[in-house]
């Protein structure tokens, strides 16, 4: 035996719709108010963030609908004392309802996918006057190369970008898969050994933004972080010119420029600036200890050991096994001395 529940008449769908609309309004307002994204620093960010807002508008009512039905059912159809042996009405289905709840989600999804496709095409579109920058990922540092017409590319451990200039990153990896991501720009792509991957970005806001590795690459993955600087066109050109023709070698004479070694490496070894912050060299990476702090007041012997035997004395908060142990081999004796002298002068004092 079953009976239609008396309270059914007092559960108009209207009541649920009212609750649903109010809950959705609150939910959407909350969803839009939350600061989900970092600042928008590229032309790609705006369309992506807006697309996410549209997803909030669509998702909240879906969740609210399901929750309202569950909560109202619990409130209205809960078994009451005396109803232990009672069953509900044997409703097996309702074709019209089933068609509706198949068709409406399908339509919503078609709309969302179409919009997504439009945004995707827009953010990946080729622009005029794109500047190509090569990005090389390795355990656990990024190196950047600025190709120069008719000459060698300029290597840097600093990612400088001129505001409003479209950039095309060509990304490579030397060892395992990494992922090159600037959250403020929104775009990312894996760096894959054996492949060159690419994406386009047009930075449009001055500032200093984190660069994050977004693919597990080993024990240094969580510290493979760097920064990118978006500067004015003039500042960028100045910086580029400085890279091409550096001023007199810091670190006092000799054939080898310690500062250049710090920022560019020697081809065989990753440049120090890829992982270490050093004010004089302008590097800002946080993979390894800040040398301005860690080398303050230290002598040449300390500095040298830190380069050739990095695991003997690891700075607090940092781990063994991340800094390459073979700088003793990849740097010549003269290069090593120049580096130690340079560091002693700009940080050790």
């Amino acid at each position: 035996m079953n009976r239609e529940r008396g309270r059914d008449e007092k559960t108009p769908v209207l009541w649920m719709v009212v609750h649903g609309v109010i809950a959705s309004a609150i939910g959407i307002a909350a969803g839009l108010a939350i600061k989900w994204f970092p600042e928008q620093a590229s032309t790609q960010a705006g369309p992506i963030d807006h697309l996410y807002d549209v997803l909030i508008w669509t998702s909240v009512p879906v969740f609210v609908t399901v929750s309202i039905i569950v909560l109202f059912s619990v409130r209205n159809f809960k078994m009451r004392p005396g109803e232990e042996q009672l069953d509900g009405p044997p409703i097996h289905g309702n074709t019209r309802l089933e068609v509706i709840w198949t068709a409406i989600p399908a339509v919503i999804l078609v709309v969302l996918c179409s919009y997504a496709w439009i945004v995707l095409t827009d953010i990946e579109e080729a622009r005029a006057d794109e500047m190509r920058i090569n990005v090389v990922g390795q355990q656990f540092a990024w190196t950047f190369e600025y190709p120069q017409a008719g000459g060698k590319p300029i290597k840097s451990t600093q990612l400088y970008l001129p505001k409003d200039r479209p950039v095309r990153f060509h990304v490579k990896a030397l060892d395992v898969i990494h992922d090159f991501w600037v959250p403020a720009f929104r775009m990312k792509i894996d760096a894959v050994p054996g492949l060159e991957t690419r994406y386009r970005v047009t930075p449009n806001r001055l500032g200093n933004y984190p660069v994050v590795c977004a693919e597990l690459c080993g024990l240094g993955h969580s510290v493979m972080r760097s920064r990118t600087l978006v500067v004015t066109k003039a500042q960028f050109n100045t910086w580029l010119a400085e890279q091409k023709a550096p001023t007199a070698a810091a670190g006092g004479g000799g054939d080898i420029d310690g500062k250049k070694l710090f920022t560019d490496g020697n081809g065989a070894a990753t440049a120090c600036g890829a992982c270490h912050t050093l004010a004089d060299a302008g590097s800002q990476s946080q993979t390894g200890p800040d040398l301005d702090k860690n080398l303050a007041g230290k002598d040449a012997e300390f500095i040298k050991q830190g380069i050739v035997a990095p695991d003997t004395r690891v700075a607090p908060g940092f781990q063994k096994g991340i800094m390459p142990k073979n700088y003793g081999d990849t740097l010549s004796a003269e290069e090593l001395d120049a580096l130690v002298k340079y560091l002693g002068e700009v940080a050790g004092k």
């Binding site: 619990v74 078994m79 509900g88 309702n94 996918c113 992922d179 403020a184 977004a214 024990l219 969580s222």
Partner: protein, 643 residues
């Protein structure tokens, strides 16, 4: 002692393991001498061959292959030999036993052991992440923790616990005396703890446990220290277990349904396990292949994924995800079946839209094979693959939505019994909807480009696997606890478990959506200062979540040992498993029942699903308000185990 070693059992299994290792040693010695390799014994080579052969030696010693060996050797065998059928003491649970009810309990208990271990690893991870910087573990150990956490919970908990629950319930539900292949069933079970032990053993390897995530991408997994192979080979045994069980389910469902049980009179749990089994047999070989390729690259110098050797790094991901996406449906569809059973019984109403519920399961099976590359949107694969994958991923939301709405319609105007299984089912409906919504967000490529490999993904995963799968697992365990143990669990503790789980689950994982989009990557032992506050809050909430699992453990153990005796049909359900005693007799039914109607005909006066023969009571038809719910006849009683 020699006697103990002659018969199947743990002692002989230990001997088999030792012999297999010795055999590996000899094989490596011979092969390396033959090729004049130096040194003639390579520890890693012996280890790797042992990891393949020792489990087999264990299984042979345990007796999992005995019957087939005797038959192959031409010795006398009896097809109906039930010597190792049914449990009469706790010792039987540590042997090869062919009774699906014993195997079901072996699976569920083993799986929950790994649930607690994997959960413990999560607690350790959250302890480390509570503050920036290093507090408890170094990055290598941390990477190992999240890798083993996920591997255990996926391969040693969610997938096998569903197999175990179905193993127990499904034959009863279709009116069968057991599964189609009881001996294969036993073998399937015993491969599982071996896989789990192997993964845990990796912590003892030089260089630490495997630490390249459960996804084990090449080249990181190819160049990783030796601990990696414990995953590479362990997954093979877990996969073999899963495939054999799925084959068993398919044959059982297709050939052993009781007379009168057409496909459209099957309970939806049976449909769900049928669909899942299709996914398992087709997809699982792909993860096996991906791991064999990693193994060959590592140990034999192959170049499948070696860029320098003209291999293809991305091919690993395609092969891996071709299994691992269907895997997430393997981890959810049985749960859908459980929810259908519980909602119908606890709402006292038929499942709304039964046919579409069955078809939507099949649709998910087919579509599930078309979406794998949505895990690879930022992988660097060809651009053109992305949009089609976005479309197929969006399409799969439609059959899933049909299920959610049908369940809601089942509740509507029912008579809702809000006990523990029902609460978990209702919690599932809302939480899985959230997980599904974040899934649709992730189909949208421009957004996914930003949130890939961030904590947004971690949030999504846990909403669908914890808020989805795990809540259905708890629902199913509470629901069938009386049938499996013959006792009732404590309802108040059950409700406490539900509410603490529900609240702290949301408190732990909801904020992860935000920090992910803000820029915190995943699989990191450390993070930038700006997320310190959120991470501390999340960690604290996660500790409470961990504690809530202890409420469950206590309830299960205490109730199993001394809870009030359960009747055959405490929930007044129509499906066949509830028409026999709790626990059921050793061969389930005195005589195979006849099915005369649908499984969810609540509210229809006089409706009957199955008729048991042999002079037994006709089971309680739906909706009657008459006297006590009929006690199951239980002729041929199961010899009770006195604790």
């Amino acid at each position: 002692m020699v006697g103990r070693l002659r018969g199947p059992g743990m002692a002989r299994a230990a001997l088999g393991t030792v012999l297999a290792i010795a055999f590996s040693y000899v094989v490596i010695f011979i092969m390396r001498s033959w090729y004049d390799l130096d040194p003639v014994i390579d520890g890693f080579a012996v280890l790797e061959l042992s990891l393949f052969l020792a489990p087999i030696g264990f299984l042979i010693g345990l007796g999992a292959f005995d019957y087939w060996f005797y038959w192959a050797a031409g010795k006398k065998t009896v097809a109906d030999d039930h010597a190792s059928h049914g449990a009469h003491s706790w010792r039987d649970y540590f042997k090869v036993n062919t009774d699906h009810k014993v195997i079901g309990i072996q699976y569920v208990v083993t799986s929950f052991f790994f649930f607690f271990v994997g959960g413990l690893f999560a607690m350790l991870m959250r302890a480390e992440l509570a503050q920036p910087g290093r507090q408890f573990v170094d990055p290598n150990t941390f990477n190992g923790l999240f890798s083993v956490h996920a591997s255990l919970l996926i391969f040693l908990f969610i997938i096998p616990v569903f197999a175990g629950l179905a193993n127990y319930v499904l034959p009863l539900m279709i009116g069968a005396p057991d599964m189609a292949f009881p001996r294969l069933n036993a073998l399937s079970f015993w491969m599982l703890p071996l896989a789990g032990i192997m993964m845990l053993m990796s912590f003892g390897a030089p260089g630490g446990s495997f630490a390249s995530g459960w996804t084990a991408y090449a080249p990181l997994s190819v160049t990783a220290p030796e601990g990696q192979v414990f995953f590479t080979i362990g997954v093979q045994f877990a996969g073999a277990s899963s495939i054999a069980t799925a084959l068993n389910f398919l044959v059982t469902i297709i050939t052993m349904r009781a007379p009168g049980m057409s496909f459209f009179r099957m309970p939806l749990l049976v449909w769900a396990n049928f669909s899942t089994s299709l996914l398992v047999v087709i997809a699982t070989p792909f993860i096996a292949v991906s791991q064999f390729m990693v193994f060959f690259d590592r140990s034999l110098g192959f170049n499948f994924f070696e860029a320098a050797g003209r291999g293809d790094v991305l091919m690993y991901q395609h092969i891996f995800w071709f299994y691992s996406h269907p895997a997430v449906y393997i981890m959810m569809l049985p749960g859908f079946g459980i929810i259908s059973e519980i909602l119908a019984v606890k709402s006292r109403k038929p499942i709304f839209g039964y046919r579409m519920m069955a078809f939507s399961l099949l649709a998910i099976v087919v579509l599930g094979f078309t979406v794998w590359a949505h895990h690879m949107f930022v992988s660097g694969m060809q651009d053109w693959i992305r949009v089609p994958m976005m479309v197929t991923t969006a399409i799969i939301a439609v059959p899933t939505g049909i299920k959610i709405f049908s369940w809601l319609a089942t509740l509507w105007r029912g008579v809702l019994h809000l006990d523990t299984p029902m609460l978990f089912a209702l919690g599932f409906l809302t939480m899985f909807t959230l997980g599904g919504i974040s899934g649709v967000v992730l189909a949208i490529i421009p957004v996914t480009i930003h949130v890939s490999d961030t904590y947004f993904i971690v949030a999504h995963i846990h909403y669908v696997l914890f808020g989805g799968s795990l809540l259905t697992i708890f629902a199913g365990v509470y629901y069938w606890f009386p049938k499996m143990t013959g006792r009732m669990y404590d309802e108040r503790l059950g409700k406490l478990h539900f509410w603490t789980t529900f609240i702290f689950f949301n408190a732990t994982f909801a904020p992860m959506h935000v920090i992910g989009i803000q820029g915190m990557p995943r699989r990191v032992a450390d993070y930038a200062e700006q997320w310190a506050g959120w991470n501390l809050a999340i960690s604290i909430m996660s500790f409470f979540l961990g504690l809530s699992a202890l409420v469950f453990a206590y309830n299960m153990i205490a109730s199993w040992r001394g809870g009030p005796r359960a009747e055959s049909n405490p929930w007044r359900a129509l499906t066949l498993e509830w028409q026999v005693s709790s626990p059921p007799p050793i061969f389930n039914f005195d005589a195979i029942p006849t099915v005369v109607g649908g499984p969810y005909e609540y509210g229809v006066p006089g409706a009957v699903h199955g008729v048991l023969k042999g002079g037994a009571e006709v089971p309680q038809p739906a909706g009657a308000t008459a006297s006590a719910a009929g006690r199951g006849h239980g002729g041929g009683s199961f010899p009770k185990d006195e604790e």
